[in-house]
């Protein structure tokens, strides 16, 4: 299978994001947020380091979330509106390669941004006397996986809906729903009405369960997940992203310009 077209799209997408001032401003803002944690954390008295850790990891994820929603929703829409997509698709590239290339280029750019913020965050933590814990890397990795999933959903929604505003709104809704699925499961179990029970069950099975990606919330729990759980989480993440991208490819293959 010839993947040169895919790599070409990844390449120019990555360049586009790194050179885009919006992206750089967001990464810079992330750095400022982490730096401000030094000031804000003084309110936490002797839990300063904990607060710097939490604000930092949450801040990195929040900035990445804002970026991924804004960038990914407009990823294909902008090229369609400016008609630069005509030149791309008039070349011998499969449409699925274009979609995958745009997605991967975006995610790589985002992950690099998250990594840059994490390096700054770690520097701040070490200055405050934090002792290294491998769980930090696992938490960061889980956060990155979460961003990759929401990014794939944002791309899919951008191809489903007619406007970028509605795609962004639906993506934000899915983000919230994804952190609520545990409660939906409980509500499904407790519900007496079979229709409600079924609907709730379907929603909590279909919606992405983002709570599981928040490893930073439960790394200190008495019982942490077994290794097999992490393997299944990897499968879950890849299958979810794959599903969203395949659906995006399918929609895009039907799109006319």
């Amino acid at each position: 299978m010839d993947l040169e077209g895919l790599f070409a799209v990844i390449h120019y997408t990555l360049k586009e994001h790194i050179r885009n001032r919006v992206y750089l401003i967001l990464v810079l803002f992330g750095g400022i947020l982490i730096g401000s944690a030094l000031i804000v954390s003084s309110l936490a008295l002797d839990q300063q380091v904990r607060m710097i850790l939490d604000i930092g990891l949450a801040g990195i994820e929040f900035i990445a979330l804002m970026t991924v929603i804004f960038i990914t929703v407009n990823l294909v829409l902008v090229e369609m509106e400016t008609r630069s997509i005509y030149l791309i698709l008039s070349h011998p590239i499969e449409r699925w390669q274009y979609i995958l290339g745009r997605y991967l280029g975006t995610i790589i750019a985002l992950l690099l941004g998250m990594l840059a913020m994490a390096i700054f965050h770690l520097g701040t933590l070490f200055l405050e006397g934090w002792a290294w814990n491998i769980s930090y890397l696992v938490s960061l990795g889980a956060s990155m996986a979460k961003i990759a999933v929401i990014g794939s959903l944002a791309l899919f929604l951008s191809l489903c809906t007619t406007s970028s505003a509605s795609a962004m709104s639906f993506t934000a809704f899915l983000w919230i729903l994804g952190h609520f699925t545990g409660e939906l499961r409980f509500m499904a179990e407790k519900s007496a009405n079979p229709i409600t029970k079924f609907l709730l069950w379907v929603v909590q099975e279909v919606a992405p369960n983002f709570s599981y990606f928040n490893y930073r919330d439960f790394w200190q729990a008495v019982q942490t997940p077994p290794p097999g759980w992490f393997a299944w989480m990897t499968v879950y993440t890849l299958c979810y992203i794959g599903t969203a991208l395949l659906l995006s490819s399918w929609l895009f293959s039907k799109r006319e310009f």
């Binding site: 983002f210 997940p225 299944w232 599903t243």
Partner: protein
């Protein structure tokens, strides 16, 4: 049908992958349950919207931190050792459990809340302190300082102050022990007229760069205790 599948390969493949999503989701739930109390156990009387918002936006840890800061602001800083009206601390148990229901592994919050409730003279509500510690032990059964504090409270109730102080002296050896709790133990030593032990605790606070905001308090306590220890 075959022709339809061939023309819509991506759609068919996505359905197959989605089956993988469903199956892996089942396995994930089977292997591990998220160790948090359900929403219905959150304490939502005063700050429900804030707490739930943090959780549903995926920032549970940050929500717990904000709740912690609000607990500290409610209690006040070193001024908690001053004589104040009991009414001011009505919500200590509530605010402590509010914080820990968001993050049940925020161990220092249990210790802090229980210490304020159990050992601050003007508050003196050991039953509430025990409620807090019991909940802490439910989620952190292997966290030994909590056991120490429970034992310490038990000795306090029986008025066995020597044994109580022994327990607390061990409990505050935890490197993450809140400085307020150390201050409480130092005060307890002071009440038993065991000034050298009390001074030792305040000196350890003075040596800890992480709690520089407590250093002025520590210095004044040390001077006071030195004066007391010189008096006949």
């Amino acid at each position: 049908m075959a022709e339809l599948c061939r023309k819509n390969k991506a759609l068919v493949a996505s359905l197959i992958l989605f089956a993988g999503v469903l199956f892996s989701h089942r396995e994930i739930n089977r292997l591990y349950t998220l160790p948090f109390p359900p929403f219905r156990e959150l304490l939502v009387k005063y700050t429900g919207m804030q707490d739930i918002s943090f959780i549903v936006f995926g920032f549970r840890d940050l929500g717990a931190d904000v709740a912690w800061v609000q607990l500290l602001q409610y209690v006040g800083g070193p001024s908690v050792f001053d004589e104040v009206s009991k009414k001011k601390f009505e919500l200590v148990e509530y605010l402590t459990l509010r914080t820990t229901r968001i993050d049940p592994y925020f161990r220092q919050a249990y210790i802090f809340g229980a210490s304020i409730l159990g050992w601050i003279k003007v508050i003196n509500r050991p039953d509430e302190a025990l409620d807090v510690l019991d909940e802490g032990l439910k989620y952190n059964p292997k966290f030994w300082p909590l056991h120490m504090y429970v034992a310490g409270l038990g000795f306090k109730k029986k008025n066995e102050m020597g044994k109580m102080l022994e327990m607390l002296a061990n409990a505050i050896l935890d490197p993450d022990c809140p400085v307020t709790v150390k201050g409480i133990v130092a005060r307890s030593y002071e009440e038993q007229k065991r000034y050298p032990e009390a001074i030792a605790i305040w000196k350890s606070i003075l040596a800890d760069e992480r709690v520089s905001y407590y250093h002025a308090k520590a210095r004044s306590e040390i001077f006071k205790l030195l004066r007391h220890s010189r008096m006949p």
